[in-house]
Symmetry: C2
Subunit: 143 residues, 2 copies
Amino acid sequence: MKLSTRGKYGLYAMYYLARHMDDGPQSLQSIASVGIPKQYLEQLLGNLRRAGLVGSVRGSQGGYRIARPPGEITVLDVIDAMEGPLELSDCMTDENVCNHSLQCPVRHVWHRLTDSINRELSGITLGDMFQQPQECEANEHDG
Amino acid sequence: MKLSTRGKYGLYAMYYLARHMDDGPQSLQSIASVGIPKQYLEQLLGNLRRAGLVGSVRGSQGGYRIARPPGEITVLDVIDAMEGPLELSDCMTDENVCNHSLQCPVRHVWHRLTDSINRELSGITLGDMFQQPQECEANEHDG
DNA sequence: CGATACCATACTAAATTGGTCGGGTATCAA
DNA sequence: TTGATACCCGACCAATTTAGTATGGTATCG
């Protein structure tokens, strides 16, 4: 069971924008400098923009900025935008995959797990992440 | 964010074996009858066997049986056996992916989420699942 | 010995992941 | 108006994973 790197990259990017929210629009180049492939990040920022989490300014001196205060954006918002909504199994959303859905004990477990994950992630905002003060690189450097 | 069907199938199989623990070894055929492709399930049961969650009896009249009482097997045991241990990101296990791992706010979020998931899943046993009494088919039928 | 049933490995098609590429469009500044 | 900057967008790609299939083997019972 793994998350894709999209969630991680998206969270890095949002955290970066949260920390630079008073510095004007941040270029893709500068956001990518934490260690994310630039053209890949561009796609990911498109998702964040369409989800309403960041705004963008085109043209020279343009870039991205966070759309709401860091305390009003949760980690769940970011992960949902990057990886799509949490759907542990088809039987959670597709009514006719299973003919006893509502009584299914497996489905019941999935439901509990879904709630638990959503509760945890919606309880952490980008602002909360500032409690852990250090910057972080997205991937390896030598040294 | 999705789980593979392996976790679901594995949980179906374990639940079935838990309910038939006093009926002697259950053949692959009979376990598969809840709606899991037989040869695929065979692989999955191999994982459960190697994880020590089920025992098998070869030969005629053989089959699989649950290795411990249902109250002593958690959903986490099953999911771990089927999908491998929960590893949300490489940076959780690989020390040199990120050079500021311990201070990384993203890593901190991943850590909280990992704990939350493991806590939830280890708090549910196969025995607990009997509280939801109905059998359930693993996939679609007509009707 | 032969039917039953588990064991093991290899193979496959389709989907997903983690990018890359190439060309567009908006904006600013000279 | 032109050119540089920088976002926008869809297509493409290799590698991996997923969800099975196929095939042959091995153990056990009767």
